[in-house]
């Protein structure tokens, strides 16, 4: 792809990524948030991570359809158990990759 197009993509991505990271810190830090909103925000990370994960584990193709036999799902079981037991981010990534790679060898 042309250098110029790539530069546009990167700068555009950088801008739209920075904006939502920056605006709340810049504006919200000067006032107190209502209690219900803090409770709401507290639950957001668990929800977003799960919402990113589950479709990747359970759906396939374009347009997407349900697929309960993905190796991604199978590998997620030992990966999840390892994460629960060790709480180690680096270790979980290594174990997950290893299990997924081993499954591909079978």
């Amino acid at each position: 792809m042309a250098e110029y197009d790539y530069l546009i993509i990167v700068l555009g991505m950088g801008f739209v990524t920075y904006l939502p990271r920056w605006a709340p810190l810049f504006f919200l830090s000067r006032r107190s948030l209502p209690q219900w909103f803090i409770r709401w925000l507290d639950l957001i990370p668990a929800a977003i991570l799960s919402a990113l994960l589950m479709p990747a584990l359970l759906t396939n193709g374009e347009p997407r359809h349900l697929d309960l036999l993905k190796p991604e799902l199978l590998a997620a079981v030992p990966t999840l158990l390892f994460a629960l037991k060790t709480k180690s981010l680096g270790g979980t990534v290594i174990v997950g990759m290893l299990v997924f790679w081993l499954l591909a060898q079978i």
């Binding site: 990167v10 830090s29 709401w40 639950l43 919402a51 589950m54 999840l80 990759m97």
Partner: protein
């Protein structure tokens, strides 16, 4: 020093993911310099993975940027959550801190801020250490891309494994588990009926809104 110490689990996670990203980006035709440029300017793992797959399939700039915006909109909520702890801080410093708000740094910084034994300087050290490691490992992956065959070492699974562990960090009580399960189910349903990446935002906002009501109705005991 505490910032540096707290960043090592993120760094350990970023190295395989960064290398995986670099390898895939290299295969999509990007040079190590172009890969490093994206990692410095964007610094967002999942959006970068998605962008590279879109570049590889010949998607135009507008669609790629719009997708990055939607995928990273979740940081709006993370930064809002962090802002609660950062009221007295200087805005210039907060603008610098904002650059390093990622799923991973958020998970660590937020839980540390909650203990009350964490400050913005330590959080900044953590963010920028993670950033350096991310840029370095993506570029390293870009250089080694040609040497690594497709699907080797489970590289395609790095991002999923990372999300699994970050999710485990978040499950601090019953209400968090209910929220996560609900968001997962909603996200899958919406993923099946709407194309693109909107299902992530819609599914999680819906689940969280419902669960805030559950939490309020049943009192604070449901916190676990």
């Amino acid at each position: 020093m505490p910032g540096l110490a707290a960043s090592w689990p993120i760094c350990l996670g970023y190295i395989p993911i960064g290398i995986a990203f670099g390898v895939l980006a290299g295969k999509a035709g990007l040079t190590p310099f172009e890969i490093g440029l994206m990692s410095v300017v964007v610094f967002a793992g999942s959006a970068q993975f998605i962008a590279v797959s879109m570049i590889a399939s010949g998607t135009g700039a507008t669609a790629i940027i719009a997708t990055a915006f939607i995928v990273n909109l979740r940081h709006l909520l993370m930064s809002s959550a962090l802002a609660v702890f950062l009221k007295p801080e200087k805005r210039r410093k907060l603008s610098l801190f904002a650059y390093g708000v990622t799923d991973e740094s958020f998970a660590i910084n937020y839980s540390r801020f909650k203990t009350g034994k964490w400050n913005l300087n330590q959080a900044l050290v953590l963010n920028h250490t993670a950033n350096l490691v991310w840029v370095g490992s993506t570029v390293a992956g870009g250089f080694s891309g040609a040497l690594i065959p497709d699907g080797a070492f489970g590289i395609d699974y790095a991002l999923i494994a990372m999300f699994i562990c970050l999710l485990v960090f978040q499950l601090r009580g019953r209400i968090y588990i209910i929220t996560a399960v609900m968001a997962g189910i909603f996200a899958v349903i919406f993923a099946l009926i709407i194309p693109g990446n909107l299902h992530v935002i819609i599914g999680s906002v819906l689940a969280v809104t419902i669960c805030v009501f559950i939490k309020t109705e049943s009192g604070e005991n449901s916190d676990g």
